[in-house]
């Protein structure tokens, strides 16, 4: 699925956060969004999944998505794993996963996908009847991503999947995202503080600052850019 975003303006009430964002993500690509705190990265993902009011253009394979409500976008195959994971804590792991497939009517393939999610995240299989709130942070993030996969997403939006996780768990998670992307050819937009990891799996990247994209390029180029490394990525090359 090719995602095309043009002149995207979004915000909360009167407060504008995004001031004309423009980006393109090719079919089956992983795109990393980097930038400092408060830049509007989360707001960008919220705009893409219909959670905030937007102006401008968002097209997924030609279908116009801007201005449509979140449930309609879910039906179009947009799966959002929000910052803080959006897990339904009192519900069981299985109920959470099944909720991910809420908009789908094809029961048989939902069972198949449940199985598929278990192969990506074997730990979830052993926790199916457990309340999601009793999972560890890493397991909850896996559940959140697994739940998003249950939608059979065409566009997967990940907001800081590494937040609060141990480095080892984070690496494992990114490896799985990469595997999902390779096997299902799901287009992925990932917002990440850990720029090193995100650039490791992404084909291209954009740096967002105060609601504008200030730098775009292939992941390799962004990684090699010394100035970016210093001012946005927080490490020296």
């Amino acid at each position: 699925m090719t995602l095309i975003v043009e002149d995207l303006v979004a915000g909360y009430g009167d407060a504008r956060v995004l001031h004309g964002v423009r980006l393109t993500v090719g079919d089956g690509e992983i795109c990393a969004i980097l930038g400092p705190n408060g830049a509007g990265k989360t707001t960008l993902l919220r705009a893409l999944s219909g959670m905030v009011k937007v102006r401008g253009r968002i097209a997924l394979d030609g279908a116009e998505l801007a201005g449509r409500p979140p449930d309609a976008l879910a039906r179009q195959g947009v799966a959002h794993v929000p910052e803080g994971r959006g897990t339904f804590m009192p519900l069981t792991v299985e109920e959470n996963l099944r909720l991910g497939a809420y908009v789908r009517r094809d029961r048989a393939s939902v069972e198949e996908d449940l199985e598929r999610v278990h192969t990506y995240f074997p730990v979830l299989r052993t926790r199916l009847k457990q309340a999601a709130g009793s999972l560890s942070g890493g397991e909850q993030q896996m559940l959140a991503i697994g739940r998003a996969l249950m939608l059979r997403p065409r566009l997967l939006l990940l907001d800081e999947p590494s937040l609060g996780l141990a480095p080892l768990v984070t690496r494992e998670l990114f490896r799985i995202v990469q595997a999902v992307n390779a096997e299902e050819r799901t287009t992925v937009v990932v917002v990440e503080q850990n720029a090193h990891l995100a650039l490791g799996i992404a084909q291209q990247a954009h740096v967002l600052e105060t609601g504008r994209i200030v730098l775009s390029g292939t992941a390799e180029r962004i990684r090699a850019d010394e100035q970016v490394a210093q001012s946005y990525l927080g490490y020296r090359v």
Partner: protein
């Protein structure tokens, strides 16, 4: 003596260890049902009547729990939908002379449609605002019933003949009414249970736990909030219908704001979001006001209030939560 107790304890332990937890629940439900079927043949008619009313309240609380416990909405007007079911039944029996089995689905349908109509505007409200609007509905209902005297019988209400036991059954009236109510109540719990286990039930829980996340998952918030109102009203309507069958009389004074508030208090005391909560809450609603009266004839309301506070202090998650905690304390073999 003490050795007998120890041996009983060990046999309970082995029993507890051999039977899985889920099966214990079913055993408990089966035992309760057996007792419920046996009760009307052992108790005095007045006590049979009291148990019948417990079942009626349990169905009403089941409906309220769909809205409050499972959908996370609040209603101080549940008594109004209960009244709608009761009056719809009374009017169908009295003015239209319909056979009483027919009044049950029709009363349920009427309440469902009204719940739906009410749920549409209620979707825009939440928390205290929703509480206030539903309270207004409960307040409004009394004068409305009095106003349309030609249909509702005004403040005098309507008196009706109760459903009579068929001659072949050999049952007394109170036993027949009890068994009718039991059958309907069991069916209501089965329907609610399968509703909650379905895709729709999951969506309802998702909306309760995190509206935004539910919406992103594709759940249409407005339709579920509206449906929760309609379902909740439907069960209230069923309970209202049973009420009219059992009491044989409706009047505006039977469905005051007090009823709505007592129902909400009963549900919270019984426990939110479980199947046992409505039953325990119904027992509370039925028997505790009487107990309060026994304790202090002059101010039963004060005692009732104090008892609610006392229960909530001991069992902040309701009686169902307390029962759950006690069951977990039953010794299990490792």
């Amino acid at each position: 003596m003490s050795s007998a107790i120890t041996s009983v304890k060990t046999s309970v332990k082995t029993l507890a260890a051999t039977v899985p937890a889920a099966r214990w629940r079913w055993l408990a439900v089966a035992a309760l049902l057996a007792a419920a079927c046996y009760a009307p043949f052992q108790l005095a008619p007045f006590h049979v009547f009291q148990l019948t009313m417990v079942l009626v309240y349990a169905v009403a609380l089941l409906g309220l729990d769909l809205l409050v416990g499972h959908a996370g909405q609040i209603s101080l007007g549940h008594g109004a939908f209960f009244a709608v079911g009761a009056y719809a039944t009374a009017i169908m029996l009295d003015r239209l002379a319909l056979p009483y089995p027919l009044t049950l689905p029709l009363a349920a349908g009427t309440a469902f449609v009204l719940g739906l109509a009410f749920g549409v505007p209620a979707v825009r409200l939440r928390g205290l605002y929703l509480a206030l609007v539903t309270l207004a509905v409960a307040i409004f209902l009394g004068p409305l019933l009095k106003r349309f005297e030609a249909v509702t019988g005004g403040s005098m209400g309507l008196t009706l003949a109760k459903p009579q036991p068929p001659a072949w059954s050999g049952l007394a009236e109170d036993q027949w009414l009890y068994l009718l109510t039991l059958v309907v109540a069991v069916a209501a719990f089965l329907v609610a249970g399968s509703l909650l286990r379905s895709r729709a039930g999951r969506a309802l829980h998702a909306v309760r736990d995190d509206e935004v996340a539910a919406e992103v998952m594709g759940v249409r918030l407005s339709s579920y909030k509206t449906l929760a109102f309609a379902w909740s009203a439907m069960f209230a309507g069923v309970a209202g219908c049973l009420y009219t069958w059992v009491i044989g009389f409706v009047s505006p004074d039977s469905f005051t704001v007090n009823l709505s508030i007592t129902l909400l208090a009963g549900l919270v005391v019984g426990g939110l979001g479980s199947m046992s909560g409505p039953v325990l809450g119904a027992l509370f609603v039925m028997f505790v006001p009487g107990i309060a009266q026994d304790i202090n004839d002059a101010a039963p309301g004060v005692i009732f209030g104090l008892l609610i506070i006392a229960v909530m202090y001991v069992a902040p998650t309701g009686l169902a939560g307390l029962a759950g905690r006690l069951v977990k304390k039953v010794p299990r073999k490792e």
